[in-house]
Symmetry: C2
Subunit: 661 residues, 2 copies
């Protein structure tokens, strides 16, 4: 197709973008108008996809990291023939009920590979997708897995710290199947990029081991040349596209005025004139729509050929099983739980996690683990895992480096890609470093698994910078994130079973550095952690109190109960590894466990805010409402009152004050 | 001093490091042993400081970004003659009560400029200190402010995303007074850096506009040459020091075995032999200690000369006032509050913040503001503020770029440097991006001010990626962070007054995008927000309920109260801008505001977890326990039930169930 015709196609994107933003009187027209030419070449000539089947396993992945330019993606999906968004959906851009949200949401539209908008994370997820692709390629071969990952990143994406982590990882792993377009328009919200940055981005990417190529983002031949160069190079490629933001809006283009606001009726009219675009808003002339749809049909043949190869492949069932996220019948955990019942272990839950993973990784070939340079501390690597390297992508362990946020975003990308169950480790306190990605996993329902060890002052000497205090509850606050804090080796295995089985959101395991006794030696047929909380031990003496604890403090709760029982005061011990699962139980279960009329006491080595939900106003929340300190763990537990000696008297006092109150 | 003698001095650091770690059986000997030679040259020949007065305003700042190497810093402070740590303190390394914590804590030891350990942040704070120095230099001149900022960063610091943001900012601002040593030892916790990274760090820093120089980190002459080059270059400098981790431990040096664990008695003995270090643990031979102390005395003369210049300067009182953190008598806010009482404003609280800042910035010359590329959205720039640029450091506004974490760490560094009151803006949802720095501000008691706008679903169309839901409470969980969510222009001014006055920790203002009515038109002599919560309106009809709300939902609470009063049901409205300040009030005040026997209802457009603290188990928490959606703000408030029409019936039902219950 000639350049003039391609421009007509690109202008269809521009028209939809400016019209939708104008109708909503809200949104970002500048980026779609600036990148329309590049996107047109990519989507009509290079991208391998099939609008008739957005879930085709071997499709290329396209991630709009600059998610504020969402209208670019909605226009591309509509024009190439995806079932949604319809033109009515696009008319409803940014309105309640439309799948065309302000930023692309993967759970609203097929074809949106990832929820993007928080800058830099789309780029990071693209790296994860590219890792998953190469890994599955190594496992299943070229005939079944052989696709690319494309992403569009703006200046904001490339200023965010995460792009440094993600690009460094991609360069190290030599992810040549990853091609990132940089929308080099020299404009940010505040004005010219020169206001805040002077760096040579191309040189920086070259320093990471990337291939860098430049092009004029409004010259179709030049765009093709650059993409062809990128395809030919074995390294990941950064295609720097020199563009004009808001291209086509004669008075505002090239300025930040086009970035994040409607152009205004007058400028939209002027742009129509400039683009020689006569049709009404949301009306795409039939020849142009037809050309787009025909381009959208390009992938059908390749898809059909792939289907035939898949049908003929002995690996078919396994690939489909993995891509559809179905676990093998045996995850190895039942046998491991049998062994724990036979031979109880006094070990740290991080070690228990390692041992659970030994069982899992031997039985579940799709797990792909790693750590942000804390392999020996997070206990994330098992014997069966060889490293995934540039030379051998079949490995199942990734040395992520000191890149917590990059790791978490990559885990999200792998989870979204499918075919693998990704997990990654760091210290719980550094969940703050990856918190934006943990949130995005929860929002976009990505089943990534975060392994967070050293989960309290129990880590000891490293001191308050490394001791999580507020983190457990701050993570519990994130909707759709399952936060598990198991109390022993059995609970750790049960929580791993829950994390593996979860398909509609992320899970986080908070694990100890220090050893803990195994509190459950009877083999339970039921996964008791699945209810979020359960009665670990019932009162022997007449019941006066319920002690609720999580993780390492369950051991303490048991000791407190012992002390109380010794005085004839009965106390249940409730282990509550996961608040959100407990909150989802029915009222009968919840009130049976936590009866309204009894004193309830929570014990957790973290901030008490939030525990009022379970202990109530007359209850007692034993916690730590301050930062920790540097000392051996046992000294800290004593210093901060996490011992039976310190807590039992407080429980007795609370019981007394209830009697007198 | 000859090279051999310098080695003896450096070996004193090595001995203290390995002995302290050995005694604690915990810690990181490798970094101090590897960087001892570089640190010796820096601290004995270049660093401008005076151990007799660690608070000397014009001292050089030294930030150990690789904070796990804390023994390096403790050794340097002790050897150069700081009052603390004593040798006894060092013997107590990592034990309860010793100021020699696992990672350096600025609140435990004078001479520790910043709490470090969470990787990359020390580097980011150093950038902030270097900005503060250049700004104060521009204001007060060379004779009063003329010092450098030095930092030591490890591979971990340089892999973390924040180093990208901080280095990009430093390069852009041309901070030639900043010199960063890179401990290039090719080792991380997991093993060789080659396991996880292949980047050319020197080329990357050159791409940021830094000067890069290499040296052999164990060759004293070469170290001097590199530092001299760095001093001579007008750009910020990265001094890449090729070192051997654990230098001196004959069997373990150069390996990750020396990174984070005691060397073991045998290897310590072998190292003693290798280093020809015969003295007992913690014993520094007198000639060596004397040489160190004499080097520590180097700065006294410069300090005395500075004192004389300060005494003679007409700017003396102003510099001292600012460095000591005393506000001017008039912050401009009282007059602004007068005006608000005269002419109430219906404006967004982000706009109210801008107007408060107009008053403040005209009256308080030490404020230094900025935004992470959301200047027009955060309303952080006032008319009086010119940009702080490479060409003119006297400006009081910083275009931080799309670098939220880098900005937050820089604010911390500025606050720690002193002489300025730093504030910076982004969207509240992106508090997650800077959360590790917000936490570190709270831990190290740095009075940075975080201006976080677009504080709920009220931001509308940008959708759930941009809508904070869990953020308010997740921030309230951080100990020593004051989280303010003002309800109108008056409260916004009051919260700014609190933030300005706070010296022992950070403050965060959560502000709306959308307009809010001014709820208080009477001029209050007292700052009502100082109590964290107050009765905005008392019930007219017999009181049956207390409605507690924050920020934009206070308006909703007033409407709910109106609806209830119309039915003869009295309801107080309590505005609660700051939980932690309210929690600090006495019991009488708290129970007067929230009486135990009344129904309490919280209204906040965020997750309800945590509100149980105030509403109790029979209470009603109106909130949003899910992610938001993309639509205009009013539609979202209706959709999610934040209207009087939706809430009043829920209050009535709760009152009924109490009656029947």
């Amino acid at each position: 197709m000639a350049a003039a015709d391609k421009r007509l196609l690109a202008n269809a994107i521009r028209a939809l973008a400016m019209d939708a933003v104008q109708a909503a009187n809200s949104g970002h027209p500048g980026m779609p108008m600036g990148m329309a030419d590049v996107a047109t070449i990519l989507w009509t000539e290079y991208l391998k996809h099939d609008p008739a089947d957005p879930a085709w396993h071997d499709r290329d992945r396209f991630v709009l990291s600059a998610g504020h330019g969402s209208m670019l993606l909605y226009a591309l999906l509509h024009l190439t023939g995806y079932e949604r968004p319809t033109i009515e959906d696009i008319r409803g851009f940014r309105q309640l009920g439309s799948p065309c949200a302000g930023h692309p949401e993967n759970f609203l539209l097929a074809g949106v590979e990832a929820t993007t908008g928080p800058l830099g994370q789309g780029f990071g997820m693209a790296v994860g997708m590219a890792i998953a692709e190469r890994h599955l390629n190594a496992v299943f071969g070229d005939e079944l897995v052989d696709h690319r990952t494309w992403t569009i990143a703006g200046d904001g994406d490339l200023m965010e710290g995460i792009n440094h982590e993600a690009a460094g990882l991609a360069g190290h792993l030599g992810l040549g199947r990853l091609i990132a377009f940089w929308d080099d328009n020299k404009i940010t919200i505040d004005g010219a990029t020169a206001l805040s940055t002077s760096e040579d981005i191309a040189a920086r990417y070259a320093a990471y081991g990337w291939h860098v190529v430049r092009c004029d983002g409004h010259d179709f031949a030049d765009i093709r040349r650059a993409i062809d160069e990128a395809l030919a190079d074995p390294r990941p490629s950064l295609v720097a596209c020199r563009t004009i933001i808001g291209w086509g809006a004669p008075n505002k283009q090239g300025t930040s005025a086009t970035h994040g606001a409607a152009l205004g009726a007058e400028e939209v009219a002027a742009a129509r004139k400039q683009l020689v675009w006569d049709s009404a808003p949301f009306d795409i002339p039939a020849p142009i729509l037809s050309a787009w749809r025909s381009a959208g049909g390009r992938g059908a043949e390749a898809h059909e050929a792939w289907r035939a190869r898949l049908a003929a492949s002995p690996r078919r069932d396994e690939l489909v099983r993995r891509m559809e996220g179905r676990l093998p019948a045996d995850t190895g955990l039942e046998a491991w739980l049998d062994r724990l019942a036979e031979a109880p272990q006094k070990i740290a839950t991080r070690k228990a996690s390692e041992l659970a993973l030994e069982a899992i990784n031997a039985a579940v070939p799709e797990t792909l683990g790693g750590s942000a340079d804390l392999t020996g501390s997070n206990n994330t690597k098992t014997k069966t895992q060889a490293p995934l390297t540039k030379e051998d992508y079949s490995g199942r362990y990734i040395y992520f480096g000191i890149r917590e946020f990059g790791m978490a975003a990559a885990l999200n990308g792998m989870a979204l890609h499918g075919g693998v169950i990704p997990y990654g480790g760091t210290f719980l306190v550094f969940s703050d470093y990856c918190r934006p990605a943990i949130r995005l996993a929860a929002l976009q329902q990505a089943p990534a698994i975060f392994v967070m060890t050293h989960d309290s002052i129990g880590l000891g000497e490293d001191g308050p910078t490394h001791q999580p205090v507020e983190h457990l509850t701050s993570l519990r606050l994130i909707p759709n994130l399952a936060v598990h804090r198991p109390a022993d080796a059995v609970e750790t295995a049960e929580c791993w079973a829950l994390a593996l089985a979860r398909r509609d959101g992320p899970s986080l395991l908070a694990l100890t550095r220090q050893n803990l006794p195994q509190l459950r030696s009877e083999r339970s047929a039921e996964n008791l952690c699945a209810r979020g909380a359960y009665r670990l031990r019932a009162a022997a003496a007449p019941r006066r109190a319920v002690l609720i604890a999580t993780g390492s403090e369950v051991e303490v709760a048991v000791a407190v109960a012992d002390a109380l029982e010794a005085q004839g005061i009965g106390a249940d011990v409730v282990s509550m590894p996961c608040w959100s699962l407990f909150d989802a139980q029915d009222e009968a279960y919840r009130s049976d466990l936590l009866p309204a009329d009894l004193l309830k006491v929570s014990i957790e080595a973290g901030t008490t805010l939030g525990w009022e939900r379970y202990v109530g106003p007359g209850g007692l929340a034993v916690g730590l409402d301050r930062f920790g300190a540097s000392a051996p763990a046992e000294d800290l537990f004593r210093r901060f009152g996490f011992t039976a000696e310190a807590i039992a008297p407080r429980v007795l006092a609370a019981l007394d004050s209830r009697r007198s109150g």
